[in-house]
Amino acid sequence: MRKNVSLIIGIVLVLIIIAVWMLSFVLMPYNPNEMNIPNKFLKPDFSSEHILGTDNFGRDILSRIMYGSRNVLLVGIGSVTLGTVIGIFLGAVASMFKRFANTIIMRIMDGLMAFPGILLAMMLVTVVERGIQGSIIAISIFMVPVFARLVYSMILDTEDLLFIKAAKSYGSSKIQIFFRHYIPAMLPKLITQFSSAIGSAVMIETSLSFLGLGIQPPFASWGLMLSESRQFFLIYPYLAVAPGIAIIITVLGFNLIGDGLNDILISRRSQNE
């Protein structure tokens, strides 16, 4: 098999972020929200106490990046997990109970898909309280139709396969068939989609935070850090470097894993044919 460069780079990048996230629980140099005005705008210096420097309130940027990784991963993974579970459920119900349930569910999914980009998330943030929970709810609803449609079409595709027919003729119930046969058959594709979805969820989260609609100050989030650095960016451009790179590593990592897995899926399928 050809070496899967995307997958390897993706895994390395995601491992870096996970390492940062784990370290944030044991080895955070400073309290990320502690202000220390005399120490403000210290430039990054690897020999100093503040490796990545300090921001306009004298807060340690490294600590804020580390703390921010918790929020980004929590919102990114949390929202996609929630969206996946609801999406799988709705897709399964729609495919198994034809007619009414099918029409209602799939038309609602079509409607949700018609909202462009960040608009749906912004509309939902208006209704829920801003913060971690609000972001998770808003982004998960964005993810639901993606997974519902995927599951729906995969079940319709596999319905006529021999092992499903066999299970039906044995008298397995719909729920049994779903968990024992459909889920394992769909798993590779779901995992692939899951990984790419985390990449886009992180992008939406940072955009919401940047617009002031996500995680609220004084808590650290990479999008918020970038938005706070805007007014000082002309004089202190280093403020925007660390959060920007952190976002790129995370989004790129999950996207590459999704792509790498997708390549494996495609090559496996063409081998089977």
Partner: protein, 318 residues
Amino acid sequence: MLSYILHRFKSSIVVLFVVSIITFFVLMIIPGNPAQLILGTDATPEMIEDLHAAMGLDKPLYQQYLGWLLNLLKLNMGKSYVYGESVRTLITKSLPVTISISIFAMAMAVFIAFFFGMISAIKRNSIIDYFSRSIMQLGAAIPSFWIGMVFIVYFGVRLKIFPVSGFVPIEQSFVRFIKSIFLPSVVLAIGEVGTLLRIIRSSMLDSLKQDYMDMAKVKGLSAGKIYIKYALRGALTAPLTIIGMQFAKLAGGTVVVETIFALPGLGRLVLTAVEHRDIVLLQGLVMFITSTVIFITLIVDILVMFLNPRIKSFHQGE
């Protein structure tokens, strides 16, 4: 063929209807009384009640929805309480900004994506292929607000080539208009070019595998003719659909870029509406933007059908 157009038209109407239900009911469960929000904290309970009744908020929800929908069909989207102007006027004023940057951004993205996508496919697994695919991956992962900030500092402040913010209408000065939308468009294009390049590359690869490509080579046609006239033509369907979708989605996806560059477009309006919980404005904007998206998708689908004889005959066969 007509039946296909009719079918697509019908399903667009259904989607639009579902969207209107979602938009209306999601924004109705908002905490707090809209009348209270509009009048502020100084208002007496009587004043709030009067406005509440005047806005029709004391009627049952389904009646409110039907009334809203009817007004929407008459293009009457109500009045924004933040701006004190009708939503329709606000949209008409902001639309040129968003349309300008969307068209400009898509034009750039399409040009770059076709150029590199085709080379990538023709010279598969070459350095150019790897290079353009890596750049594409990176472009999809860089947050637009980050590039925007960097652009403003280097091109706007240091080199002073482009204005840092604001929009100049085309009637005022064409050169300044282009300058004012150039950087925001580039930022948007960077976000869009990756997906497009990927689709162009893969449909080009598919097209290059077809029998008619061998035929064209056997006939001894020039490389340009082979690739542009035959391979590209066969590979156009999927990219066209994606271009349509991307262009449509830009209409709602310009919020971040408009915020960084302080452009008074639709995205700015959406942000203001969300920040101030201006429900009437937000409902109008969401319905306007989503209808545009659905309409453009419909047009592109029909266009693609005309361009691709295979789809045409497939639907005739049905």
